[in-house]
């Protein structure tokens, strides 16, 4: 029941918000998204005390003839992804308070609709349902980017839409193929996740390879990892800040989450054969995107490329497929989600206060607003994974996991530790340090809503860096169970 509520509530909230007018929309959206966060806390509480509780499961027949069920459930990994979503959405809404959007009821309604789809993706236990939510998530973000985006949004959003849709269609082919092979013993076909697992294991290497690549491409585009990433920088830069936050903070985790739950356990043989190729793509992408980030002048684009580097490391950790790699991936998905929302808000603040995001035209903001300088620095440290920030726990586990896969692979992936420091510190210096420039002299104070979001983000960065135990407690057994399943 509770999990059903997790999905239904944002839908109702979205409809309510669509019906409001003017500024009430954003306040209503904020309150409703906080309520959704509270519901997710209840789920968390329930899961901690009784992971097998009925409240966490929902299994209704949907389209009987095709074996499709409305089946949702929670495990440790999906729980954390849901928590990430419900934690970030209120922050994303709050971060928009200084932007005046036309038709606010549609804007915030779409955000909430998107939240429904995202939660659905993370808790679906039925392949068809998973696919439906997966595609459903694309629609609101498409409109958010198209209607409220920046320059050249038509072309860029179209490319993003077609590119990701194409990936999803490949995934559909893969899933249908799997579905066709279910029910080996009983003859009853099913989309249930466990049945897909069973079906996948019985496939030949050739068939598994087909499934692997068709589904992998969808996930690789969504994250994105090299070389499927070229829609991302333009889209991130053009989308309204809240759209970028949704895309990078939560939506890209659909790809990494899918990899963990909807691909790797299904096709063990193909993984053994093609895992190395995918690993090489991920690791090369880390270095590639880090280098490109060094060459960026537009701060938003710089973060976009740094995000490709970070997600490459997460993907590599997943592909290493061991306790440390997977656990690090999940923890880093949370860390990256929080940090990247902070970074994109900073980019937005810079633009609103100075009219530019070009790091060479900025400078000396620290003189004018030292408080902002401190908050910015903390987000940056989380992003470069300094110990005692949330970024470090995940990154250490990821590099450990990759090391188990291959020492040299880990050494190369680890170069991101150095390159990340290069581009992050360089941009921080150009933006914040030095003498005040004319562009930054009138920077002024932060808006209350911006300050609130940054403080919450910074608090999360430090809290989970110093005391990641709650994350360990959830992820450790979940990953162990996943690995046990495969044996």
């Amino acid at each position: 029941m509770l999990t059903g509520l997790l999905i239904i509530f944002p839908l109702i909230a979205a409809i309510l918000v669509f019906l409001t007018k003017g500024k009430t929309a954003r306040n209503a959206a904020l309150v409703l998204s906080v309520l959704e966060f509270i519901i997710s806390l209840l789920v968390f509480y329930q899961f901690k005390h009784n992971p097998g509780a009925k409240e966490l499961l929902l299994n209704c027949t949907w389209i009987e003839s095709l074996g499709i069920k409305f089946a949702v459930g929670i495990d440790g990994i999906s729980l954390l992804m849901v928590m990430l979503t419900t934690f970030l959405v209120p922050l994303i809404i709050l971060s928009s308070y200084k932007n005046e959007y036309d038709k606010p009821n549609s804007f915030y309604g779409l955000i909430l609709l998107m939240q429904m789809a995202l939660v659905g993706v993370f808790i679906a236990n039925d392949g068809f349902l998973f696919y439906i939510f997966w595609e459903l998530a694309l629609i609101p973000i498409y409109f958010i980017c198209l209607l409220w985006g920046g320059e050249d949004r038509g072309r860029i959003t179209f490319k993003f839409f077609v590119y990701t849709l194409l990936g999803s269609l490949f995934m559909l082919v893969g899933l249908v193929f799997l579905y066709q092979h279910t029910g080996g013993a009983t003859g009853i076909k099913s989309w249930a996740l466990n049945d897909l697992y069973a079906a996948g294991k019985n496939l030949s290497l050739y068939q598994q390879s087909f499934v692997f690549w068709s589904i992998f491409v969808a996930f690789a585009i969504k994250m994105p990892i090299f070389p499927f990433h070229t829609w991302q920088p333009d889209t991130y830069v053009t989308a309204p800040t809240q759209g970028t936050m949704l895309l990078s903070g939560i939506m890209l985790k659909m790809g990494t989450f899918g990899l963990i739950k909807w691909l790797m356990p299904i096709v063990p043989l193909a993984l053994a054969k093609w895992g190395n190729t995918a690993m090489m793509m991920s690791v090369f992408g880390i270095i590639y995107a880090s280098c490109i980030a060094i060459a960026q002048k537009d701060y938003k684009r710089l973060i976009a490329y740094s995000s490709i580097a970070h997600v490459g490391l997460i993907a590599a950790g997943i592909l290493a497929f061991n306790q440390q790699g997977l656990q690090g991936a999940v923890i880093q998905m949370l860390g990256h989600g929080v940090n990247v929302v902070g970074l994109f808000l900073i980019a937005d603040i810079l633009f609103r206060h100075t009219g530019t995001r070009n790091i060479d035209s900025l400078g000396g903001i620290r003189n004018v607003n030292p408080q902002f300088a401190v908050l910015f620095l903390i987000v940056l440290l989380g992003s470069v994974a300094l110990p005692l920030t949330n970024g470090f726990v995940g990154e250490f586990l990821l590099i450990s996991g990759i090391y188990k896969y291959g020492a040299w692979t880990a050494a190369i992936a680890g170069l991101s530790v150095i390159l990340g420091a290069v581009y992050m510190l360089r941009s921080y210096q150009n933006i914040m340090l030095g003498e005040v420039k004319t562009s930054t002299a009138g920077f002024g104070e932060l808006a209350k809503s911006d300050k609130a979001v940054l403080i919450i983000v910074c608090a999360a960065i430090i809290a989970f860096g110093v005391y990641p135990k709650p994350l360990n407690d959830v992820t450790e057994p979940a990953v162990k169970a996943l690995l046990e399943n495969l044996k």
Binding site: K159, F226, T230, Q323, Q324, R366, Y467
Partner: protein
């Protein structure tokens, strides 16, 4: 008391939080007092723990705080280790840290970032304490990167200055190169021993379960970390630039404590190095090379802080030489004495700079003896101590190191001895040029010359006493005296190599060292005191070789050319060519191909019924054919 070890880092943390959140609203007096007394409180607790530890038979106490990271076999508790090594470092960090905090109250008094300075400084002490207190490698790493952050913040303390900001960034990035090595080392330790807690790792290593190659790899990876933090070739170039920070920072972070973290790490992990000759030899050679190389640069520098910076790099090299020779306790001994005299020298230099209104060029100083009597006297002690003149502290630690190196390798001993000679020379060069001769600054500077306030001179005096007498920690065995520090550290040294030198040899070596120092000092006296020869005032007046060394052998330029520039080029090429043209070009090309193909197909939709019927018939015929055959 040992159970309360958590208090030691807690006090600076509290100081950091108070000054960080409300420091600006506090008066400078209160802000400075919070900063200083939080360190004093830590020092008192550290001292009590030190005394308790000395009295107790158990030499290693683990205090668990909470579980930090847990992932399958990988269990990382947040826990502290109190043993002779960490207890000694606690005293150095908090003791010297306290003196430098007090000194900073005077030194930074006019600075608008006064409370911010103490915020950073307290945070630094907090992380430095974590570094030495951690009971596993990852907690050491937490402190390790944490002090790197504080170093970054303090080098760039005057953040309006672009050159300083660049120096700060350079320090952080170069340290990160080392940190990656360290991190991989930790991971390798974990996969080899299934644990990263010191006690268990060393016990397992001692049983010999790990392959020789693995041990060597671990030792070398950890050493890469040490090269970064302790400024050894090839990762030393950040330390001279780090002098951009306020002088108390140079004294505390870039001389007395943080830069010795690499030595701490290797002493802590001594078992790996004593098990691997390859690793030990690497450490020794890198140390010796760095010691000599930095000393030659120090010979021609004219910025008082730069002289001291290169001297620090050189002295750190000497410590690594000791480590490579297996003389772990001698290296720690030198860490301690070096902390005394180098902190003293930096703070003295700060006092001079303070009096000179910010001037750092020794060519523009001179004759400061009279105006700055306390600074002069205390710096004299520091200079003598570093030069290795008995009975000052540096003499004992340096002599012990060189004796051990002599046993291992005569060539390295020779390099170490030459380094010591050079050290004595350039230190006295700096000393004479600063305090003797004629005053070479402006009239205005001369008019303003003044001795520093009590808050600055008292720490100088205390450090001078330590620099003078610190040698008692490790009096030579062959004098029939007690080498306290060697005994004190012996519980954690896994493979001991007792000295095999005869007393006669030791006496000869010692005599040679003292004679060499005396010759150096006499030469410096002749050139800079008696004949009043000044270093070239302008670069153009220097000889070619001198200019090359003055420019630090152009190593920075070399790195710029082979690393920084190519990296920027690659980044641009990846972005502008590879990403935008090729990868995205293929994506857009695919889209265009679809468009083009659609255009082609579109032409089939002619609207001509006759054409459609023809096509249908053709289709039927084709189907018939395929199903027939």
């Amino acid at each position: 008391m040992i159970k309360l070890i958590g208090l030691v880092p807690l006090f600076p943390l509290i100081g950091f939080l108070i000054n960080g959140f409300i420091g600006k609203k506090l008066s400078k007096g209160v802000s400075g007092a919070i900063g200083s007394f939080s360190i004093l409180a830590s020092f008192v607790v550290s001292l009590l723990i030190f005394i308790e530890l000395n009295g107790s038979a158990q030499k290693s106490h683990v205090v668990d705080l909470f579980s930090w990271i847990s992932s399958g076999n990988l269990q990382v508790p947040f826990s502290f280790l109190v043993d002779p090594l960490s207890a000694l470092f606690l005293l150095i960090i908090t003791g010297i840290g306290f003196l430098i905090h007090v000194y900073s109250v005077g030194y930074m008094h006019e600075d608008e970032g006064f409370s911010r300075f103490f915020t950073y400084l307290n945070l630094f002490v907090f992380f430095m304490l974590l570094l030495v207190l951690g009971n596993n490698y990852l907690i050491m790493f937490v402190g390790w990167e944490g002090v790197g952050l504080c170093s970054y913040l303090l080098i760039g303390f005057w953040f309006k200055n672009t050159a300083y900001n660049n120096a700060a960034k350079k320090a952080f990035v170069i340290n990160r190169i080392g940190d990656l090595g360290f991190l991989l080392g930790i991971i390798l330790i974990f996969f080899t021993f299934n644990t990263i807690s010191y006690g268990e790792v060393f016990k397992l290593a001692n049983t010999g379960i790990a392959a020789q190659g693995t041990i060597t790899a671990i030792a070398l990876l950890l050493f890469i970390g040490a090269m970064g933090k302790s400024a050894q070739i090839p990762l030393y170039t950040w330390l001279p630039d780090a002098m951009a920070g306020p002088t108390p920072v140079s004294a505390l972070i870039h001389a007395a404590t943080m830069v010795t973290a690499g030595i701490y790490m290797i002493v802590r992990s001594n078992i790996f190095y004593s098990m691997s000759d390859v690793a030990s030899e690497t450490v020794a050679v890198v140390g010796a090379a760095t010691a000599l190389f930095a000393a030659t640069i120090g010979m021609v520098q004219t910025d008082i802080k730069k002289v001291l910076a290169y001297s620090t790099v050189s002295q750190l090299g000497l410590m690594f030489l000791a480590l490579g020779a297996g003389a772990y306790s001698s290296a720690v001994f030198h860490v301690a004495t070096h902390a005394f005299f180098k902190a003293l020298l930096f703070l003295g230099a700060g006092s001079v700079i303070h009096a000179m209104g910010g001037e750092q060029d020794i060519r523009k100083m001179g004759a400061l003896k009279k105006a700055l009597p306390v600074t002069f006297f205390t710096m004299a002690i520091g200079t003598i101590a570093i030069s290795g003149i008995p009975p000052f502290s540096g003499f004992f630690s340096k002599d012990e190191i060189l004796a051990h190196v002599y046993e291992e390798n005569k060539l390295l001993w020779f390099i170490g001895s030459v380094t010591s000679m050079l050290t004595a020379f350039y230190m006295f060069r700096m000393f004479y040029l600063t305090f003797f001769g004629k005053f070479r600054g402006t009239h205005e500077q001369e008019h303003h010359l003044h001795e520093s306030p009590k808050s600055m001179t008292v720490p100088l005096i205390v450090l001078a006493i330590l620099a003078a007498l610190g040698g008692v920690m490790g009096l030579p065995e062959f004098w029939g005296t007690h080498n306290w520090i060697a005994d004190y550290l012996s519980p954690l040294i896994y493979r001991k190599n007792p000295s095999i030198l005869s007393h006669e040899t030791e006496w000869v070596l010692m005599g040679l060292a003292v004679a060499a120092a005396a010759v150096s000092i006499y030469t410096a006296y002749n050139v800079y005191r008696k004949n009043n020869i000044l270093p070239a005032a302008k670069e153009e007046d220097m000889g070619g070789a001198e200019r090359f060394v003055y420019h630090k052998y152009k190593v920075d330029e070399f790195y710029e050319a082979v690393i920084t520039k190519p990296l920027n080029l690659i980044s641009e090429a990846f972005y502008k060519f590879f990403d935008l043209k090729i990868v995205d070009g293929i994506v857009n090309g695919t889209g265009q191909a679809v468009n083009w193909f659609s255009e082609l197909i579109r032409k089939l939709q002619t609207g001509n019924i006759g054409f459609y019927i023809l096509a249908m018939v053709a289709g039927i015929v084709a189907i018939l054919f395929t199903s027939l055959f």
